[in-house]
Amino acid sequence: MRRLLTALVLATSALALPAMADTPFVGKTGALTFGIDSAKSQLSFLSDAPMEKFKGTAEGITGEFKIADAAVPGGVTGKVIVPVAKMKTGNDLRDAHLKDKEWLNGGVNPNITFEIEKAEITKVDGTRASGKAHGKFTVNGKSVSKDMTIDIAYAADRNAIKVTAKFRVSLADHDIKGVAGAAGSKVGNVIEIEATLYGTGK
């Protein structure tokens, strides 16, 4: 009987452990909302074309992450907004061209957005998690469905979150043709993006 009880206790613990470790939001229950801290967050993009390789940044990132249930981090939704006007490449003329109608068309589409629909969390280690975020990525007014690799870190004491993401954007997916001869020679057809977003609990 004692053996049976021990086995039952062990089995119950073994079942409970993964459930406890399925979320980085340790010690939290219910819904969580994090507002993106614009001052701390940063996004960089890399264009690697035969004629030129350049790196740029985007500032003034806003938005929020909503987690309906702290125990289910995959249920994250939210929106990340990147203003085209605050994108820089180090060359004033190129910065101005970037906002032209042939490229990001900042006058008509002032923001690049990512609307998060869900996440697939594949690994949880304490207050850290990693996986893929799925959502609608919009550039130049054209939306495409996109998956991006994400890493999440949570600070329970401050109720703060950090989300890092890496992904690639194809200009053709967003109907960005560029000026004749520039796309693919001076500007890469595919842009690599890295983002580090800091959020504070609301």
Binding site: Q42, M51, G56, G90, N91, A160
Partner: protein
Amino acid sequence: MKRSTLLILTSLLAIAGSLATLLWWAASGAAWFTLQKVLTTQTVVDEFGDKVDKEIWIDKFVPGLLDLAGPIAGALLVVAAIGFWFSRKDLKYTK
């Protein structure tokens, strides 16, 4: 000083200027297009205890080959070529 000598000196100076321009471009970072700002990376430890590369723009002028150094070097070479051409003509008439 004879006109032909002056022209040859001017041409040699223009060639030197052209080479100096290209050296200045190469030493400044050999960028294709002129930059007014340069992105620098500072590794810092953030509030989550992670090492993060913080990217900061600093004001720095980097001449570009296609929009600055190249045209200057090219124009100086044209000046040198014209100088040599006229000096040759002057020498021919003197003979």
